[in-house]
Each structure stands twice: as C-alpha cells, then as structure tokens.
C-alpha cells in the first residue's frame, strides 16, 4: 500500500518559483495499474520521482508498506530503490556496453544473489518480455520497442514492490507503444506488481485500471476502471 499525503514540491527557476506539486494526496493499493496523466508541467514526473526516492518533497508524507520513505538516509534510499523499486524511462536508459542479458542481470547483480539464480531469473524474464534469442545483443542492435522491453525486464527481474514508468511509450511509435502497454499490463496481472506510469497519451490511458489526472500540481480527477 502506498499512501501519499499532502505532497508539496516547489522548484526555483531563476527568480521565479514553479509549484510542481501543491498538496497531492492519494492511496495506491498493491497490484494497481495506475496512470498519472496530465499535460506537460502538470507534475507527473515530479510525483513519480518523489515516490521513486529520486527527489525530495518540500513537505508531505509518503508511506510505502507503512514506512515513511522521506526519513530514509542516503544509503537506505539506495537500498530501498535497489530492492523494492523498478524504473522504466522514456529514453530506456540501458547501459550501452552491456548486452540485453547483462542489462537485466545488472539489477540482480546489485542485489548480490547467486550467479545461478541471476541467470535463471534473467533468462526467464527476457523470454517473458518476448526477447528470446536477443539476449546477447547490445542495445544498439535492438529496436526502440525491444530496448523498452529490456528496460521493463530489468525493472521486473528483481520482483519489486512497485514499478515506476515515466512516459514509457513516449519514444515509441503507436503500434510499439501499444505492444509495450499490453506487455506491462500482462506482467502486472501475472506478477501482481504495482505499476505507476505517467503519460499524456490517450491511447496509453486506456490501458490503466486507474487514471489519476494532474493539472498544475493538483489532482483534478481520480477514476478507477
């Protein structure tokens, strides 16, 4: 269970202040497939970054599994991200010198589990995301859709509590984008992993089982489907 209470975040841009989040409160239940939608500058990415412990809120509280993540030290934050969170970015952010297999295994290498388990889990998830046969390809030899599949596999291989995806289809064509959304939904159903993703694409919103709309840093609608 993720509980967000009165989250406020303000950026300074030169002399002016940008109110990215102005008191956002919401609860996300385990296994939800939630889309945070809204136009550019509405606060979607800021909200995801704060939930993902990549950024700090100015005020407010976030409880994940009953733990106030805002109070974590730097090391605790790194550990929490390593063990409990998976990230998918719109630019994929794969390590270019590592193969698809190595990119996925990287997440498990950080957890320091046995080599055997790393291998079996990595192969399994790569097959699950449809990359059988592409394990040894470098990112440069993969299409955009395949790269995003690797990124999804990397986020899911550690069996996280929560996957945060920031505009996961923004860099893909509509057909590939739809395939990625189907894949994410399928994995959400299969593994019960909670997904929160941001988007401003109406097609992507259709896949969400819950749609939260943000505007100027405030929730303007919260719809469960």
């Amino acid at each position: 269970m993720i509980t967000i209470d009165a989250l406020v975040k303000t950026y300074r841009e030169g002399e002016s202040e940008v109110h990215a989040l102005r008191g956002v409160s919401l609860e996300i239940k385990p296994g939800e497939f939630t889309a945070i939608a809204g136009p550019s500058g509405s606060g979607k990415t800021t909200l995801l970054n704060i939930i993902g412990l990549l950024d700090d809120a100015d005020s407010g509280k976030i409880l994940i599994d009953g733990r106030d993540i805002q109070t974590f030290s730097g090391k605790e934050r790194a550990r929490f991200r390593r063990e409990k969170l998976g990230f998918v970015f719109q630019t994929f952010n794969l390590i270019p010198v590592l193969t698809a297999y190595e990119n996925v295994a990287l997440a498990l290498n950080l957890l320091q589990i046995s080599a055997k388990e790393i291998e079996s889990r990595t192969i399994a998830i790569l097959h699950e995301v449809g990359l059988k046969g592409a394990e040894n390809r470098l990112p440069s030899k993969l299409s955009g859709g395949q790269q995003q599949r690797v990124a999804i596999a990397r986020a899911l291989v550690k069996r996280p509590l929560l996957v945060l995806a920031d505009e996961p289809t923004a860099n893909l064509d509509s057909v590939t984008g739809e395939e990625i959304m189907k894949l994410m939904l399928e994995l959400n159903k299969k593994h019960g992993t909670t997904f929160i993703f941001s988007t401003h694409d109406p097609m992507v919103m259709l896949y969400a089982t819950r749609l939260i709309k943000l505007h100027d840093g405030l929730i303007v609608s919260d719809e469960r489907r």
Partner: protein
C-alpha cells in the same frame, strides 16, 4: 560486486577505444620519457664520476691552503715545496699519490707546419710520467705518438685541442708562461702524443708536460701545486684519516676530497637533475590533465547512465569505484606501454647511446661524458614509474567523479 564493477569498467574502456588509447599513450610517453631520461642522466652521472676520478680528481688532493683559497685563478706560486717528502710519507702509509703542477700559459703556433699563426690561453699540467699512472689513467688513453719522458721539452695534447690547432705528433709548440717568481718564461716543446680520453675536459683542454721539466721552467724545483691521491673508495674514512694524520705537522697543507674538487660539476649535475625532474614533472602533469579530462568527459557523457545506475540503487561508493577502476586501468595500460617504451629507449641507450661529441667539442655541459651518452638499466625506476602511473591516473579521476556525483539523480537523468 567488485568483479561486476571491474567488468563494466573494462567494457566502458573498450567502448571508447580511441580515447582510452590516446590517454594511455599520453601516460606511456610520460613514463617512457622519464625512464629513458632518468637512465641517461644516471649513466652520465656514473660515467662523469668515473672519469672525474680517473682523469681529473683521483680520490682526493692535497694543496696548500693558500692555493685552495684562490684556486680559481690558478696561483702556481702557492705550491707545495718539497713535494717528494710528502709523497714518501703518503707512500709509507700505503697510499698511491701523484704530483702535478697546474699553471696558466699561452700556447702559440706558427704557420708551417700549422695552417695559420695563432695562440690560445691554456692551463698547463705538469705530470710525473711514472707516478701519474698510479692515480690517473691518462697514459692508457694515448691515441697517437708516445707518452711523456721526464725532463724532455715535450707536450701531449688532448685530441680536440689538437684538432682545433691542426696539431700532430712531431709539431713544434711554443708556450709562454710565468715562473713562480713572476718572470716570463718561454717553453719550446714538441708534440709527442695525442690523447683521446673519455673525459671531454681532457680532450678539450689537456696540455701536458713532464713534471720535472715544468718544475725547472717555472723555477719550483721539487714543487707541485697538487698531490693527487688514489685509494679504495669503499674505505674513504680510514684513508682520509691516514692523510690527515700525515698533514698534522704541515699546517700549510690541506686535503680535499674529490667532491670538493668537483664541486662545480656536482652543482651543475644537481641543477640539471632538478631541471630535468621539473620538465618531467610537467610531462606527468600533462598526462595527468589528459586522464582527468578523459574521466571528466566520461562522467559527463555518461551522466544519464550514472543517474540510471544510482536510480537502480547502486551506491555512490560503487560508482566511484567504477570510474576509479576505469582510470586505474587506463593508468595501467599507459604504464605498461610506458615501461615497454622505456625499455626500448633504455635498450637503444645501453646498446648505442646518443653521440653528442660534435657539440661537446666546443661546449662544456658539465658532464664528463666524451662521446655517446649511454643509459643504464634501472629496474627500480621502471617499477616505481609503473605504480606511479597507475596511482596518478586514479588520483586525478577523483575530482571529475566527485563532481559528477554531486548532481542529483534527477539532474543526471535529465542530461
């Protein structure tokens, strides 16, 4: 984790092969140059000290205090009287000694057999043909003619001075000098030999006459300005103590070690060593700036990747280690190339050397190396250079890596 980080570091280096190679080559050039120049300087120092000992200073010298106090103007009149008595005492103490006279003079040559009339200021050295051999190796370097005979009006010349005068064996020579009593004295002598010593100072300035003949000409019978001593350098203190005991009853005389006698050379060699070290330090700084720049570029180019790794939960310490390993690997690659380059440089120096004799004929660079500058194998320098190269590479990467890690994850991902 370390294994994984090391593998990732290696892959990153291979990703930018050209940049890695260029940076490693900068380090290699610095290290290779250092090894080569260090080898050449150490060899030049060793050879200089050997030549100084064998041709100019011996292990030490006895002079009068008055001579030593104004030695720069070669005050022949401040000579050691009854040098034979002192030589006997030294011999009784088991020390090898040779008397010499040094005096200023003007060497004059006339057209036929010389191409033109001419003169030059020289320092005349009177040597005892028998005793001199016990201290110096001059006789062994005779390249033409014969060595001096006692009491004869004859002279042997250094090869470069002979070449400059167009002098040859059998040619007449006139020397104008002053006796110790201040009278002008003209010496007509014949060139009987040419010496080609490994010490450039001897070849450039050497004008040697028989000691007894010069004593007579300078009105200083039995006198010598210097008594050079040769002893085993592994027992310096004991031998110096013996000499000082002999001199106890002769307060006018004084013993000086070869270092005192070669003070000018040692000062020049020291200054050269410092100058060369400074130049080499600059070379290392350039190499270090190269690595620092490479790492700065690596950090900035991979900022998003760095953000991703941090987002995935990799701790800053591990990311630092990743970049340090990359820098260390560049350093090691550069150091390996550098040591190989240094070995090749050393091999050339040890086998062939650089022949600067053309320049050394006219210019005194301080080192007593006459022909080719050779090198010596110095394993300690090679090992220390290898480690210094690798360590410097890691040290100079600290700043760019820390700078990269100062950014927040969000800033990194936005790049």
């Amino acid at each position: 984790m370390f294994r994984f980080i090391s593998q990732l570091a290696w892959k990153n280096l291979m990703r930018y092969k050209r940049r890695t190679l260029i940076t490693a080559l900068a380090i290699a050039m610095g290290i290779g140059m250092y090894i080569g120049v260090d080898s050449m300087l150490k060899s030049a120092e060793q050879e200089s000290e050997r030549n100084l000992h064998d041709f100019e200073t011996g292990s030490g010298v006895i002079t009068t205090k008055a001579y030593w106090d104004s030695k720069e103007r070669i005050p022949t009149s401040e000579y050691i009287e009854h040098s034979n008595v002192l030589l006997q005492s030294l011999s009784d103490a088991g020390l090898q000694a040779a008397p010499r006279i040094q005096a200023q003079g003007e060497l004059i040559v006339y057209e036929d057999p010389y191409p033109v009339d001419g003169s030059m200021r020289v320092i005349l050295t009177g040597i005892d043909p028998v005793r001199d051999e016990k201290v110096f190796k001059l006789q062994k370097t005779l390249s033409k003619g014969r060595f001096l005979k006692e009491q004869n009006p004859e002279v042997i010349l250094g090869s470069w001075i002979a070449e400059k005068l167009n002098a040859d064996v059998g040619y007449p020579i006139t020397i104008v000098t002053r006796t110790v009593n201040g009278y002008m004295q003209t010496i007509d002598a014949t060139v009987v030999g040419i010496i080609d010593a490994p010490d450039p100072v001897i070849n450039r300035t050497g004008v040697y006459l028989p000691l007894e003949y010069l004593q007579e000409m300078l009105e200083m019978p039995q006198g010598a300005t210097h008594i050079f001593i040769n002893f085993n350098m592994s027992n310096v203190n004991k031998n110096e103590q013996k000499i000082n005991e002999i001199l106890l009853n002769q307060p006018m005389l004084m013993y000086h070690s070869w270092e005192k006698l070669a003070e000018d050379y040692l000062a020049i060699a020291g200054a050269k060593q410092k100058g060369t070290s400074f130049i080499l330090l600059l070379v290392f700084i350039i190499a270090a700036v190269g690595i620092s720049n490479t790492m700065l570029m690596a950090v900035y180019e991979r900022m998003r990747e760095l953000g991703m790794l941090r987002a995935m939960g990799m701790e800053d310490e591990d990311i630092k280690n990743l970049f340090f390993i990359e820098a260390g690997l560049i350093g090691i690659i550069g150091a390996v190339f550098g040591v190989v380059l240094g070995i090749a440089f050393d091999f050339y120096l040890v086998t062939y050397g650089f022949d600067f004799s053309m320049f050394l004929k006219d210019i005194d660079i301080g080192y007593r190396v006459g022909g080719a500058f050779h090198g010596i194998w110095n394993i300690t320098t090679m090992i220390s250079c290898f480690f210094i190269g690798a360590v410097i590479a890691v040290l100079v990467s600290i700043f760019p890596v820390r700078r990269g890690l100062k950014k927040t994850i969000v800033e990194c991902l936005r790049k």
